[in-house]
Each structure stands twice: as structure tokens, then as C-alpha cells.
């Protein structure tokens, strides 16, 4: 088997089996599960509509903003927490406590604090993704190799160079955090859109389809959310790949 065939054939076979199972399931419960072809038709129709394009743009923008806030807050805090023994001893337990709280549970709190659906939704997604960034970065910083900074110092490196060495040691952990945060951020944004509603957003559209019992549309929107998540994850992987290449060998 050539490398190309061995790479692409298994997922094609796996995907075909899943579609076949779906088709069989739709035949046995047509009122709950629409056929593959019906969902495919609905998906292509939705992708051509201006409204869904705006929905995708709104959901992706909210996700990227939430992840951006998560990185901005989680990485510096995680770096301090991971590299400072005293800080870790004082607040290390807090990471475990906070990541045990489902971000969704905090939605009422965010609504109370921000008094705006948009801000509350963003706050919830940023909190969920931020905890991941914080924990991931703190782990990377705590398990870094101080010897590499010492090496730079012995060979006369400037403070800036030594800082860059310390940062390079943390980047693979940050990259892992970014990939998880992007997926989690999207999940929380869509949940926020379903619960709180919005003018545009894939979650809002899924909710509309459910209210109108338009199952083809609802399934098609679910497929689109999945594709958006897959694309965002791929983007995060491509952007962070350079940092992760040596991450397994730290």
C-alpha cells in the first residue's frame, strides 16, 4: 500500500461505515433522524445563505475573542504560577478547584456581573478556555528545565535572551493549551448562543431550527458547527505546530 493510500483509505472507510449506519438509523426512525442525503442537501443550502455565513462569522469571531482573552490572561498567570514556588504553593489548589467548575454553571454569575448577554457569553467562554490555558502553561513552566537558562547565563547571554530561552521551554505547553482552548471556546460560545440567544450565531440558528422542528436544518447546522470546530482546530494546529515539534522532547 502506498503512503497516500494508507493515509487516506482508513478514514474514508471509517466515514463510509458511519454514513451507512446513519442511513440505516434514519430508515428505522425517520421522524427523529433525517437521511444522509436530506442533511447533505440542507447543509449545502445553508452554506449558500447569507444568514448562515454571518452566523459562522459571528460564532468564529466570538470564539477567537474568547480564546484571545484566555491566552492573554492565562499564559502570564500560568507562567508566574508555574515558575514561582511560593505562588504555586499558595494558589496551585485554585487551578484544580476552578477547573472542576463547569464553565456553564458560572453563566448566571456572569449575567449578574456583566448585565449583558454578549459579555456574559464571552466571559463564560473566556473563563473556560482561560482555565485550560492557565493550567497548561503552569504545568509547562513548573516542568521546565532551569538548566537551559543557566547555560545561557554561563555563556554570557543577556537577560532578554535568557527570558526567551525560558519562554521557548513553555511554548509547547502553551500550544497544547491553545488547541484545547479553541475547541472548548467554540463549545461554550455555541452553548451561550443557544441559551442566551443572539442576532447572529450558529447556536441561535440551531435553537431556531429546534423550535420550528426543522430536523434537516438542525442536523445540517450541527454538521456546520462540527466543520467550523474542525477548521479552527486545524488552524490552531498549523499555527502552533512549530512550538509543538520539540514539545515531546523537552
Amino acid at each position: 500500500m502506498t503512503p497516500i493510500v494508507s493515509r487516506f483509505l482508513p478514514p474514508i472507510i471509517g466515514g463510509s461505515i458511519l454514513l451507512l449506519l446513519w442511513q440505516v438509523a434514519s430508515l428505522s426512525a425517520p421522524t427523529l433522524i433525517p437521511s444522509v442525503s436530506a442533511v447533505a442537501r440542507a447543509t449545502f443550502a445553508l452554506l449558500g445563505s447569507e444568514q448562515v455565513r454571518r452566523d459562522v462569522l459571528a460564532t468564529v469571531s466570538r470564539t477567537l475573542l474568547a480564546v484571545g482573552i484566555a491566552i492573554g490572561a492565562g499564559v502570564p498567570l500560568g507562567a508566574i504560577m508555574g515558575s514561582t514556588h511560593l505562588f504555586r504553593a499558595a494558589f496551585g489548589w485554585l487551578i484544580d478547584f476552578l477547573r472542576s467548575i463547569p464553565a456553564f454553571v458560572l453563566l448566571p454569575l456572569f449575567i449578574t456581573v456583566f448585565r449583558s448577554g454578549d459579555a456574559a457569553r464571552l466571559g463564560m467562554a473566556a473563563f473556560g478556555a482561560g482555565i485550560v490555558m492557565l493550567a497548561s502553561t503552569a504545568f509547562g513552566a513548573a516542568h521546565g528545565k532551569p538548566l537551559r537558562v543557566e547555560v545561557a547565563r554561563v555563556y554570557g547571554a543577556s537577560r532578554l535572551f535568557r527570558f526567551a530561552v525560558a519562554v521557548r521551554g513553555i511554548l509547547p505547553a502553551v500550544a497544547d493549551g491553545v488547541r484545547i482552548s479553541v475547541s472548548l471556546g467554540l463549545v461554550l460560545v455555541v452553548v451561550g448562543e443557544i441559551v442566551l440567544g443572539a442576532t447572529y450565531g450558529l447556536g441561535t440558528r440551531v435553537n431556531d431550527s429546534l423550535s420550528g422542528f426543522e430536523l434537516d436544518r438542525m442536523y445540517a447546522l450541527t454538521v456546520i458547527v462540527g466543520c467550523v470546530g474542525y477548521a479552527l482546530n486545524l488552524l490552531a494546529r498549523v499555527l502552533t505546530n512549530r512550538w509543538s515539534a520539540y514539545g515531546r522532547h523537552l
Binding site: 528545565k145 538548566l147 543557566e150 547555560v151 547565563r153 554561563v154 547571554a157 515539534a245 520539540y246 522532547h249
Partner: protein
């Protein structure tokens, strides 16, 4: 010349590691410090490279305070001292990069030294693609690349196979003889210390006290570079026995 004058050191709120340590290492001299694990060898090295400061006494490395002198250092944990995000060439050229050498000049210098030390792997390899012996040799190249006044090695053979150890010892000796390099090796292997050194200093139990009179001269019938076959001769064994007897009858 490396001069330690009544150097003392204690970690905060702990028993002193070094009480009063004095000894000198002349230009071109090869000296081994031997002692059990936890005897204070690594602490002594930290003081020499300036990553720790003596609580009393003074250190002069070729007329300069530690941390400012041109020192080549090989750490025990070779892999942890290398940057996994750089290939072997960039790792070896680190001191030159910090000295502001151009990329081309760095490459030429590293290639020349790599040939001299018989580095038999492509310099485009990443550290995680190298064996223990190759990593240690790469660290020696990095340590010598900027022509330091003194080469300090912390347990350089601790994690190496017999073949890798012999190979490194032979090439290290050749490089030392060619440059008239001052060598300070910290080891708990008497065999390696005797083979590489002109004198051996046995560290006393903690807190370490040395007056400079503890140097044991290695009696070798060969000039440098010494042949590896010397380790099989009775004169080599006699040196080891003499140092061991000294350890039993301090």
C-alpha cells in the same frame, strides 16, 4: 590560573557545604575533583561558573571573577543543557552567537571543531535524535567553540557507555593537548580522573575543607595525549591504588 582562596558556602538555613576550600589550577593543568555523591562537587562548580556566590573567600578565574571569565562548561545532564528547538549546529554555536559572530563564521568554526573531535553525525540533527555519547560530544564542542581559558566538566561520563566514554576521553585529551587547555573535571570515577588528569583532589566529607595540599600527582609514563592502552598497564593501576589508599588513610 584558577584560584580559590578559603572559599565557604552554605545554602540558606542549612549546614555549610564548603567550610574553607583553597586550591589552584595552573594554566594547561588538568585537575580532577573526586568525591562521593553529595560531597559538594556540583556546588563547587556552581561557584566557579558564577551561578552561586561564596559566603566567604574569593575565586579568581584567570584573573576575573566567576561569571565574567571565558569558561567552557559541560554539564552532567547533557540533554537538559541543550536547546531541543535548535539543531546540533546552532546548539554548538551558542557561545559564538552570544559573542556576535556571523552565521557563516559560526558555521565554519563549529565544523572545524566537529571534525577535530570526530563528531560522526550530521550537524543538522536535533538533540533528541542523538545518542548519549553524541550529546556529550556536542556539549564539548559547544564548550570549546569560543576558545575558553578553562574547560569545566561535571560528571562528563556519568551516563555514557564504555565505548562512548573511551571515545570522548581520547578526543578530549587530544583537544586539551593541542590547545594547552586548563581542565577541571568533577567525577566520582577514579579511573577517568586518573586517565585525564595531572593531579587529583579528593574532597573531604562535608563540610569540605581543602588547604591546597591535598593534590595527588598522577604519575604517568606518557606525555599527552595519553594512549588508552595505558589504562591496562600496572602504572595506571598503581595510581588508582595510591589514591584509594589515601582515601582509606586520610
Amino acid at each position: 590560573m584558577l584560584v580559590l582562596d578559603r572559599v565557604s558556602f552554605a545554602y540558606p538555613r542549612r549546614q555549610p557545604v564548603l567550610a574553607s576550600v583553597s586550591f589552584e589550577v595552573g594554566p594547561g593543568e588538568a585537575v580532577s575533583l573526586i568525591g562521593e555523591n553529595g560531597a559538594g562537587k556540583s556546588t563547587l562548580l556552581s561557584l566557579l561558573i558564577g551561578t552561586a556566590v561564596p559566603t566567604a573567600g574569593s575565586i579568581s578565574v584567570f584573573g576575573r571573577p566567576p561569571g565574567t571569565a571565558q569558561v567552557g562548561m559541560v554539564w552532567q545532564k547533557a540533554y537538559d543543557s541543550l536547546y531541543p528547538w535548535w539543531d546540533a549546529m546552532n546548539n554548538a554555536a551558542l557561545p559564538l552567537k552570544l559573542l556576535g559572530w556571523t552565521r557563516r563564521a559560526r558555521r565554519q568554526r563549529v565544523e572545524q571543531l566537529a571534525a577535530e573531535l570526530n563528531l560522526d553525525f550530521p550537524l543538522s540533527r536535533m538533540p533528541y535524535e542523538l545518542s548519549g555519547g553524541e550529546l556529550q560530544k556536542l556539549c564539548v564542542v559547544r564548550a570549546l567553540v569560543a576558545d575558553p581559558s578553562i574547560l569545566i566538566m561535571d560528571e562528563p561520563f556519568a551516563n555514557l557507555s564504555l565505548e562512548a566514554t573511551n571515545d570522548l576521553m581520547v578526543h578530549l585529551q587530544a583537544a586539551q593537548a593541542k590547545r594547552g587547555l586548563t581542565l577541571l573535571i568533577v567525577s566520582h570515577s577514579l579511573e577517568h580522573s586518573v586517565f585525564l588528569s595531572d593531579t587529583v583532589i579528593r574532597l573531604t566529607p562535608k563540610p569540605v575543607t581543602l588547604t591546597g595540599e591535598e593534590k595527588i600527582l598522577v604519575d604517568c609514563p606518557y606525555s599527552r595525549p595519553r594512549p588508552l592502552s595505558w589504562t591496562l598497564e600496572p602504572t595506571f593501576r598503581r595510581n588508582i591504588d595510591r589514591i584509594r589508599m589515601g582515601a582509606l588513610n586520610p
